[in-house]
């Protein structure tokens, strides 16, 4: 079993809600596991989610700790992280 999975859970905040997630996983994976598929709004206001999973498509942009346009697939969750899925068009 992966050591990171065996570690204790982290607490992060997603759209104002405190949630517990597995350590060592990406922000995109954490949100997927919370069944949050819509990660941002497109320039015309449509919901969008992760597509390429490897940092190419920029569809999974979220706001992390007040820093907008962060690719959820390229960043690992950190205890206390604050993630917002509104905006980022």
């Amino acid at each position: 079993m992966d050591q990171r999975r065996a570690g204790s859970e982290l607490e992060i905040v997603v759209d104002g809600q405190r949630v517990r997630v597995a350590p060592g996983i990406s922000v995109a994976a954490a949100l997927f596991n919370l069944d949050i598929l819509s990660l941002r709004e497109s320039v015309s206001g449509a919901p969008r989610g992760a597509v390429c999973g490897m940092g190419v498509c920029f569809e999974c942009r979220v706001t992390i700790d007040n820093s907008p346009h962060q690719r959820a697939c390229m960043i690992a969750v950190v205890d206390g992280m604050n993630i917002c899925t509104a905006g980022n068009s």
């Binding site: 992966d2 060592g24 954490a30 997927f32 598929l37 992760a50 940092g55 498509c57």
Partner: protein, 442 residues
């Protein structure tokens, strides 16, 4: 140079830390060369050896990663190349390294930029819940659980097998694997597999893990439906068309080489691949290219190409006959196999006029169809001008409309002005010193 930009001097800069880049870096560093590896991901391994939560890391990956650790090569994780230019003394690379400017001055460059997934737009493909096949694999490897989710994999290519196996093993309710290629085309692929028994065995092992799911050839998804997120898809085999309720659709049409950095440096490309000679040298002196960027061939071929480049870069030494023979064997089998999965003509009818093709700028198919080339579409509709710089939509549009890829200009990744200006002289950069974004990307 802007304050805060770090400068590294190297003999060899390797861009990309998948199997090809790792092998190149290891072999060059073991010769005593100063090697810097710039990799976008947080850990080396590339997509194929990405390993969080996805079960055991393959033995060969562990061996190469351990060798990389000991080689003396300096790994720069979380580092995307933004610009690269040649001058009299070599090359200057400007990169965004975890938000900071990183400059690398190097004598030689080895491009190991890998590949990305090819997408063809269809109605509803922008709904959350529709993702790439490699995209699903990457999410899975970074800790996503598909357990209990109803999943359809639809598209083309050998990547569907391991992803189907991994999703089924992870508890997903895999409803259908739809391969658009015809049965004869897939049979040709299978015949190639017979020549490489280890790959045949691997394919059989993958299939065994999703035996209860139908694997349908000549079948493809024409539309995705849902309010705010995916709820169902329309599937067709050309004779019959039906709806399938589903939570996740994985859709992709094989892999395409990432050639943007090579194009920026001026390397010759042929058929969408960086053109190299027997020693992995590109058309630009002291620039080599290895792995998928030179043509889709898989990890074994990438490793051999990386070894050849790492052993010969900066020297007049010829690669060993053993390596050259191994490369020839892998090239012959791997690259022919991938040709079996060319997208069928019917897929050109997938997008409707109102279907969004450029996901960054929400540009519809109807509006880009009026353009005569990629450049004109960019100028008049903004298609391909968003943060992904056309990497997601343009290969699909090239397939749909017969366009050729446009030229590449810096920055090749979104970057702040402070990072972009890090490569110019003090007096010039001070005028740009801000954190605003340029390139009209956000």
């Amino acid at each position: 140079m802007t304050a805060g930009a770090e400068m590294l001097i190297a003999d060899v800069a390797v861009v990309g830390a998948g199997p090809a880049g790792i092998a190149a870096a290891v072999c060059a560093a073991e010769r005593g060369l100063r090697v810097v590896v710039l990799d976008r991901a947080l850990e080396p391994g590339g997509q194929i050896w990405r390993h969080v939560n996805s079960g055991p890391v393959p033995q060969i990956a562990r061996q190469w990663l351990a060798r990389l650790d000991k080689s003396g090569a300096r790994i720069m994780p979380g580092t995307s190349v933004v610009d690269a230019s040649a001058d009299a003394s070599g090359f200057q690379i400007i990169a965004n390294s975890l938000g900071h400017a990183q400059i690398v001055r190097t004598t030689s460059v080895i491009l190991a930029t890998g590949a990305r997934e090819m997408f063809i737009p269809f109605e509803g493909w922008t709904l959350p819940g529709v993702m790439g096949i490699g995209g699903a694999q990457a999410l899975l490897k970074s800790g996503a659980s598909f357990s209990g989710k109803r999943v359809i994999i639809a598209g083309s290519g050998p990547l569907m097998l391991p992803v189907a196996a991994a999703l089924a093993s992870g508890g997903a309710k895999l409803l259908l694997v739809a391969e658009q290629a015809s049965l004869p085309a897939v049979a040709r692929f299978a015949v190639e597999l017979w020549k490489t028994p280890t790959m045949l065995l691997q394919a059989a092992q993958y299939r065994a893990r999703f035996l209860s799911t139908p694997f349908s050839t000549g079948t493809w998804v024409t539309a995705a439906h849902g309010a705010g997120r995916l709820e169902s898809v329309t599937v067709t085999n050309g004779r019959r068309t039906w709806r399938e309720p589903v939570d996740i659709l994985c859709s992709g049409y094989g892999l395409i080489p990432n050639i943007e950095l090579a194009q920026l440096i001026g390397c010759e490309t042929r058929d969408g691949c960086v053109f190299v000679d027997a020693r992995q040298r590109t058309s630009i002196g002291n620039v080599l290219a290895v792995g998928e960027t030179t043509g889709i061939g898989g990890a074994p071929l990438s490793l051999v190409e990386g070894e050849i480049a790492g052993m010969t870069v900066g020297s007049t030494q010829s690669p060993s006959a053993i390596l050259l023979r191994r490369r020839a064997t892998f090239q012959a089998s791997a690259r022919r196999m991938f040709d079996a999965f060319a997208p069928r003509a019917e897929l050109r009818a997938l997008p409707a006029a109102e279907t969004i093709v450029c996901r960054c700028e929400d540009v519809t198919y109807g509006s880009v169809q009026r353009a005569t080339c990629a450049r004109q579409a960019k100028l008049y509709t903004r298609a391909g001008m968003g943060p992904c710089q056309g990497r997601t939509c343009m290969p699909g549009l090239e397939f749909l409309l017969g366009w050729h890829s446009d030229t590449v200009r810096p920055p090749i990744e979104p970057a702040t002005v402070s990072i972009l200006s890090s490569g110019v002289a003090d007096n010039a950069s001070s005028a740009f010193a801000s954190n605003s974004c340029v390139g009209d990307v956000f």
